[in-house]
């Protein structure tokens, strides 16, 4: 009886193993079809640097010329991300010379760091990213984000304490070759025409 029990037990286990071998591993061999799996297994979030490594296929003769781009960033800057945002917002859409000039005469701490990052990016563009004229660049994207904070204790009265954050931020910039894109100037007539068109495009739902 014990032998029979173990025998059936072995068969049972083999069946289960067989099932496992067929279904799970076979599915794992085709990773594209996994929809319930978290696809990016790596923990690294330094994706901005990887954008420079992207290689496009050669362009066809009839395609419009793709402008050269360079992505650059600086990590763990000892400054607040909210304060950095104001500077990043200021230089969005400017040409690189204009941006560097504005940052040079800005009194904020982040302005000096941002200027260094822009000049590094300009150098990278000319040296390794096939940009012909170093002034022919404009800031396409510029933003800041939160870095890893250090925590310290801030002593209050009556034995109370608070946890103080020593803030750090990252700064990201994307320079694209070419003059900065001019924002479209809408005349009053255009705006009025659009407004009237919007009114005309309204539909009444559930009507006859």
């Amino acid at each position: 009886m014990a032998a029979a029990g173990t025998g059936s037990g072995f068969v049972f286990v083999r069946n289960v193993c067989g099932l496992f071998r067929d279904s799970r591993l076979a599915v794992l061999a085709r990773p594209q079809q996994l929809s319930w799996f978290h696809s990016s297994s790596s923990l690294s979030t330094k994706n901005w640097e990887k954008k420079n490594l992207k290689v496009f296929p050669p362009q066809l003769p009839e395609e419009a010329r793709r402008p050269a781009e360079v992505h650059h960033c600086r990590r763990q800057i000892k400054y607040s991300k909210d304060k950095m945002w104001y500077l990043a917002k200021m230089i969005r859409g400017m040409s690189i010379d204009e941006a560097v000039a504005q940052l040079e005469f800005n009194d904020k701490k982040g302005a000096k760091i941002m200027k260094e990052v822009l000049l590094e990016a300009q150098e990278m563009a000319v040296k390794t990213h096939n940009v012909e004229y170093k002034s022919n660049l404009h800031v396409a994207e510029s933003f800041s984000s939160k870095g890893k904070y250090l925590k310290r204790i801030r002593y209050h009265g009556r034995g109370m304490f608070g946890i103080m954050d020593k803030v750090y931020c990252h700064y990201f910039v994307k320079l694209v070759e070419g003059p900065p894109p001019r924002p479209e100037q809408k005349t009053g007539l255009d705006q009025a025409r659009e407004y009237v068109q919007k009114l005309k495009d309204r539909t009444v739902i559930h009507s006859l």
């Binding site: 104001y86 500077l87 917002k89 200021m90 000039a101 504005q102 040079e104 005469f105």
Partner: protein
């Protein structure tokens, strides 16, 4: 023991105080005035933690949309400067009403060296002579105007910006 039940008369007049073991006084001749006195005595803040009646506090959390509209208002954004121009001497950028930083640094470096030379000549503090000083560079001789002046020699060519 459960707390004594409130008489129906006082349910409508007095606010309910959730304090266990509160013994109510016997019904008075003027119940309203007594109740007001009781309320005043009991609602005195017993410490800083109970000061809910007079400290302003936010009622609701400010949403991120409201915070963003306040922080990103036009008045809080950094204004773009339009008074930046290139320096005619060196080509670096300068503000219109401010001296060029590069030229200023260049001049201050040379004046620092002149001052070092003067300190070496004097040898100590408070030994400034009572005559004027003139700086001469390599290959220059003192002219008739520099007769009674102290001469500071600098062993280099006269810089272009230091006119005689």
């Amino acid at each position: 023991m459960s707390p004594p039940a409130m008489p129906t008369k006082e349910k409508t007049t007095a606010p309910a105080l959730a304090v266990n073991g509160l013994s109510l006084p016997p019904p008075q001749l003027h119940p309203k005035i007594q109740l007001e006195e009781e309320q005043e005595n009991q609602e005195h803040p017993s410490g800083l933690l109970d000061s809910i009646m007079w400290m302003a506090a936010p009622k609701k959390r400010r949403t991120i949309e409201i915070n963003r509209t306040r922080r990103r208002a036009e008045s809080k954004l950094i204004k773009v400067k339009n008074n930046i121009e290139p320096c005619l001497e060196c080509g670096h950028l300068k503000q219109k009403h401010v001296l060029c930083g590069f030229c200023y640094a260049k001049v201050s470096r040379e004046t620092g060296l002149i001052r070092q030379q003067i300190n070496a000549m004097e040898g100590g503090p408070l030994r400034t002579p009572t005559v004027e000083t003139v700086v001469l560079y390599e290959g220059e001789t003192p002219s008739t105007q520099d007769k009674d002046k102290r001469i500071v020699e600098r062993p280099r060519k006269r810089p272009a910006w230091f006119s005689y």
